[in-house]
Symmetry: C2
Subunit: 777 residues, 2 copies
């Protein structure tokens, strides 16, 4: 654990006391998002201390030119990067001519921030003494509207405490922004127009290369002690150099409205700032100005308080479905709510063009927004806590990128419609450039199909497979068929030169997980082909026509699957993570000196590679995905063999282990894994929270509770539970949306309660026994 300053609280993330060293961490932890946009918890007023400024718009990205040490054929020339967007939250404050800046104030006291997860609001308050002797008290509240997802609202108040003072608010927009992680210091934005319209202002800019057009907007209201006032304003602008490299021009990229008034000691001067973005993702380019005027009008007509109430209502709706309560362990409670809150801030599921970025709207790191994390870790959360349309949208996202996946496979030499989904992407194109990942971590392709299976299994909705999914399944099956090669020496199909989920092995042969998911995909594709041929004749005709699929090809999937090779040790009676695993020095992690950890910071890459240490579940990931194909005894044997070598240096590792430890009745271990996953960012285990949060692994935390402790599975179209509870907890509860019905599960020591909100009776399995839940009437 690296940080411990966040106060334990069931519904809020609270920082108390002024510590400049926490600024960047809190900026990450208290980020706000509404699915369409988001931003780090940067201060509204100027701050000259260390800060990481960031504001992001879902779906708006920049293809940054690839930077590598040594070029390899097949690397993408450009890749899509999360883009720091023009800033709209800023309000410069001057008190008797001096800038308010916490970094330069004489003293700061009563500093407090609270991210209120129940309401989706960020509050901040402090007292400060400026160099000119004026003491002020400041309160700021901000939220990004869930209901009106193109706007956010800020209420910012200042009160002079020891004297009357002349105070200036200068709310502003600024498109002169850059990315900290730009590869070549490109300018990502080009500003087209800056418009000033009474109490509103607009900056229209487009991204270079991708040419997304975005209007950033603001409109402001002023109050003294709650009474609205009108002040004349000065118009302020600034310029910066923008445009393509070699063609930069000095452009106006800043507009501020300066409001000055005399405020008596004890009086409160308040500004309501409404702002945000409209973009050509959702409006015609030529209508952006009109659209932004309309949306600002809507906001200002509602007013701050009504918008705030709508925000609380919207979050109440989210929590009504998604909340997990934990009684008796406030840090665990805070952890799980933080995870659920951030997942909902990142992705609301209404737009199939968007996905769940690994840092959400909390930082720039990692190009692209979509990893196999979505399919492997996130879909269960969204399936169970949202309408099933949301998970379907996530699947549709991949269907829409199938052509690019086929193109991507083509670059690596695969033919006839074989599809390889990229490791990281924004628009379907690959955004990663380490050969051992980009070209070799191909197991990701299996997750695309697993997610389809998982969706069908959970929702019972077959229509996605018929309408879109089968084409994805065919593309992926074709890939595996070609990628598996026949070894005469083994008389089996082998898959050479891969990186498994455990990225601490590169370019290995016959990674068990990869071979297994490949075999499974081929079998699944064969089975679905048979089903469609028998039961959906017209659709099957359309699909085989479009994909030019022959019966011989389908048969070849089956025979390849049947002859797939799996490395296995007779001595240990376990499958081997890959060929040659037993040649390693098998020293378990507990024998490693603490000074050597985390090994990814202490060891050179070759040393990591030849060690037996596992970054995240690999063989066990397969036992998680395909649990029903193995006995509990087999799971136990593999868990006992592999977990001792696992260093869990991926945020995606502890959740799978928590689920499996719980299944094996090792509740103490399961609880330890749970804490590690749920408070990863709050406690900053990996010393990197300043860069942003680990959003996708948060879905794993949810799985730890629901699938781990709750033991939830879907078996033969029925929900099944095997509830367990960690010693430290009195009770916990969660809800899942299962095929239109909401099942509430409450687990206490020695007692579990299942209830339904509405609808017909529902038969479920509890510890293997059939039970029927009836709606209380």
């Amino acid at each position: 654990m690296h940080l411990e300053y966040i106060k334990p609280n069931p519904w809020s993330i609270i920082e108390e006391g002024w510590n400049p060293e926490h600024v960047k961490s809190s900026e990450s932890l208290m980020s706000l998002g509404n699915g369409a946009m988001g931003q780090r918890a940067n201060f509204e007023e100027e701050y000259s201390g260390a800060t990481f400024q960031g504001s992001y718009i879902g779906g708006v990205y920049y293809p940054d030119k690839t930077k590598v040490g040594w070029w390899k054929n097949g690397y993408p020339e450009y890749f899509a990067k999360v883009l720091n967007a023009p800033s709209w939250i800023g309000i410069k404050v001057k008190v008797n001519g001096e800038r308010l800046d916490l970094h330069t104030c004489v003293s700061v006291s009563d500093f407090r921030r609270e991210l209120n997860m129940l309401y989706g609001t960020l509050d901040r308050s402090f007292k400060a003494t400026l160099k000119n002797g004026v003491e002020v008290s400041v309160k700021a509240q901000r939220f990004l509207s869930l209901a009106l997802n193109e706007v956010g609202a800020i209420k910012y108040s200042i009160k002079p405490l020891n004297q009357d003072a002349t105070i200036i608010f200068e709310p502003y927009l600024d498109s002169g922004v850059t990315n900290e992680d730009s590869n070549w210091d490109d300018q990502f934005w080009n500003t087209l127009s800056v418009t000033d319209d009474e109490d509103a202002a607009f900056i229209t800019a487009h991204t270079m290369k991708t040419n997304f057009h975005v209007t950033t907007m603001m409109r402001n209201r002023l109050f003294i002690d709650g009474r609205e006032i009108t002040l004349s304003r000065k118009h302020k602008t600034k310029t910066s150099y923008q445009g393509a490299i070699g063609h930069k021009e000095e452009t106006t990229t800043y507009i501020g409205h300066e409001y000055e008034t005399d405020v008596k000691q004890g009086e409160t001067f308040t500004i309501h700032k409404f702002g945000g973005y409209v973009s050509d993702l959702n409006h015609a380019k030529e209508n952006l100005q009109t659209a932004s005027t309309i949306v600002l009008n809507t906001a200002i007509t509602q007013g701050y308080d009504a918008m705030l109430q709508a925000q609380k209502d919207a979050w109440a709706q989210v929590w009504a479905m998604a909340d997990i309560t934990i009684d008796g362990d406030v840090k665990a409670q805070q952890g799980i709510r933080f995870n659920i809150f951030q997942l909902n801030q990142t992705y609301t599921g209404v737009d199939s063009r968007l996905n769940i970025g690994p840092k959400g709207f909390t930082g720039e790191k990692y190009g692209g927004s979509t990893y196999w994390d979505t399919e492997a870790y996130c879909i269960p959360f969204y399936m169970a806590t949202k309408d099933q349309e949301v998970a379907r949208n996530l699947l549709t996202y991949r269907y829409n990128q199938l052509d690019k996946a086929i193109e991507n496979a083509g670059k690596l030499g695969f033919k006839n419609g074989a599809a390889l989904y990229p490791m990281v992407t924004m628009n379907g194109e690959e955004c990663h450039n380490e050969w051992e990942i980009t070209f070799e971590e191909i197991h990701r392709n299996g997750s695309m199909v697993f997610a389809i299976h998982n969706y069908e299994r959970y929702t019972g909705d077959y229509s996605y497979i018929v309408e879109m999914g089968m084409e994805v399944i065919v593309g992926v099956a074709r890939f595996w068929r070609q990628r598996a090669t026949f070894s005469k020496a083994k008389n089996k199909y082998v898959i050479l030169g891969v990186t498994g989920p455990n990225e601490y092995e590169n370019n290995v042969n016959n990674n068990w997980f990869t071979n297994y998911i490949a075999k499974w995909c081929l079998e699944y594709a064969f089975a679905k082909a048979e089903e469609l041929r028998d039961n959906h004749k017209d659709d099957w005709k359309r699909i085989t026509g479009k994909t030019k699929l022959s019966f011989d090809e389908i048969l070849s999937w089956k025979s390849t699957a049947e002859q797939m090779y799996f490395p296995y040790s007779e001595e240990y009676d376990v499958f081997l993570q890959q060929d040659g695993f037993l040649d390693k020095e098998l020293v378990t992690v507990d024998k490693l000196d603490k000074s050597q950890r985390p090994i990814n910071q202490k060891w050179s890459w070759d040393r990591i590679l030849r060690s037996p240490y596992i970054k995240q579940a690999d063989t066990l990931q397969g036992f998680y995905f395909f649990e029903d194909n193995f006995t509990t005894e087999e799971l136990e044997k593999h868990f006992d063999f592999y977990e001792p070598f696992t260093v869990h240096e991926s945020s995606l590792s502890p959740c799978v282990h928590a689920i499996q430890a719980a299944k094996l009745d090792r509740m103490e271990q399961a609880y330890k894994f749970y804490l590690r996953t749920s408070r990863l960012d709050l406690d900053d285990y990996n010393k990197e929270v300043e860069e942003g949060l680990h959003i996708t692994s948060m879905a794993g935390t949810w799985m730890s509770v629901v699938e781990g402790f709750g033991g939830m599975r879907v078996r033969n179209n029925k929900l099944s539970f095997e509830p367990k509870i960690p010693d430290a907890w009195h009770s916990y509860s969660f809800k899942v949306n299962f095929r239109g019905q909401v099942v509430k599960v409450e687990v206490a020591k020695n007692k579990s309660t299942f209830s339904l909100d509405s609808g017909d009776d529902l038969e479920i399995l509890v510890n293997g026994e059939k039970c029927t839940i009836t709606v209380a009437r």
Copy 2:
């Protein structure tokens, strides 16, 4: 073959006719060097067409900040880069006010360049018509003095052909130069002073970070029709921005002397320009100006013609020892001389701080100057064609960098004085940053020891081992002892996670070559330790004291070597290149469609890795190094197994195969490999000659003739030959310096002649039979 414009000629590289598309290729092919400095064959006069300007100083480098896509622990933060040095060869020419520039002339005729390898000179001549209608004829000759290795000389003449003309020569120095391959567009040089002194000028500049101080100099003489004249001159300067990033300042970085005179139609105006570098590698910083004045004085006192004669004499001395004649095959003759010439231009062996850069003085590509190429490919050439001190200097270079090699191993987690020599280096520090090479291509470490063995075997000089070599042997043995780990599964020592000489396999287990050279090093270290303990007691005490070497440790080397694992196939009765090689789809290269080659340009990296295709000799490299440990039948079996999978996409591959094919009496195949290695650059097989030449592989060409066709070996302190001759040749000859005696070998069809220049009778082996060579008196 890509290029065919070079005229076949036994002693010269000749280009005839003006073709701007050949400029960059010829700039590489006709590069000049004298071991201390070198430069591409850039024109003296201005040229506004496509050109790659380059001038280089041996031992002067810049640590460029590393550029990678994804950082891995252990990567060097900076690495040493071959540095484009201030230019001294330039002479601007104006004719009636118009610049002479072949790119803008109305017409160019009779263009001819010749790199005369017998004399070490570069000649160029052409006729050109300028836009102003003046026709001129130009002759230029240039050389870099072998005798006086800080200077070069240029004789540049112009004759107006169709009218009288006013002609300006502006010889200049320019330190405002940059590298084309700079990672971050750093300025590598900072100019300290520009000095003007009558007919001479000096620019003193230092490299950023490494702080090498270099004075670039020139002094000029003018002639009309051979009569020296004196002209008043105008002083010209230019500025550029230099200095550290963020602190650049406008600095004078150019000085020219403008000489103007009226030249009558048919008269010849000539300039002799003497120039070059003195650096603080060889002089005290504060004396650079004095040193440069002295060296220029020496040159100018001798005069151009005397210096030229000295140059011819010096090259005659080189050729007297190093020449290989081939009768009946002018292209083969030209090829071998080109290789020998470039090797001698690159490294003369007088300075143990220098080494044999892979591009010599012909281009910037590749950071660092020293690869395992030196130990594996170059040492035999320098041993046989130079005084043995030269090879000893190359060994000493590594001894001097032993501390850095120990530091380098430490970064990768090795202890107790284990040494890992870098993959690429300038000063002992690693200059490469691909993990699969930098950290894993560790077989290079074995070559350091093999070269010591090779040197001892050839020269009989044991003193290097006693004085320096044993410490290197100990460091390397310690590395192998620690790097080999014990596999319980195999009950053997294994070496996991390596890249062998065949870089088309990465991170493999038990690469046969690596395991073999590791075992060999351990055994050799054990044997040398025993010898020193028995025969050099005092030295042994010093060495064990310094290295803290215990008897137990030495014993552990032996036991590790004895238990080393080697992958082997019973089916094919061959050692396997690495574990799992037989799992590949074993389709031979001849079955590959031509459109797919070279695979390193056509295929993505993963596809190359999982293919069976071999970039350069790997298992066969081991059979080359350790030939005596295997029977010819074993060699044949391995050659027949591996060569069909070898694509020879490394310049270092064909030579080893030529030697082995010759040994196996496959002369047609051997000849094919020979042509590929000897004319690699002249015919531009790899379509990259514009970037510079493949210097180190040129030593492999020499080996192809001497060890391949000549069958030369050293066995029990005796030279041994098994001469063979390709069908296309009438005869060939070479000389080798063996322990102070020069043996000349002449091979004709069915007849070989061996002769000695001087000294005692020498017993040699010819086709296994003892013969005695006597000096003809």
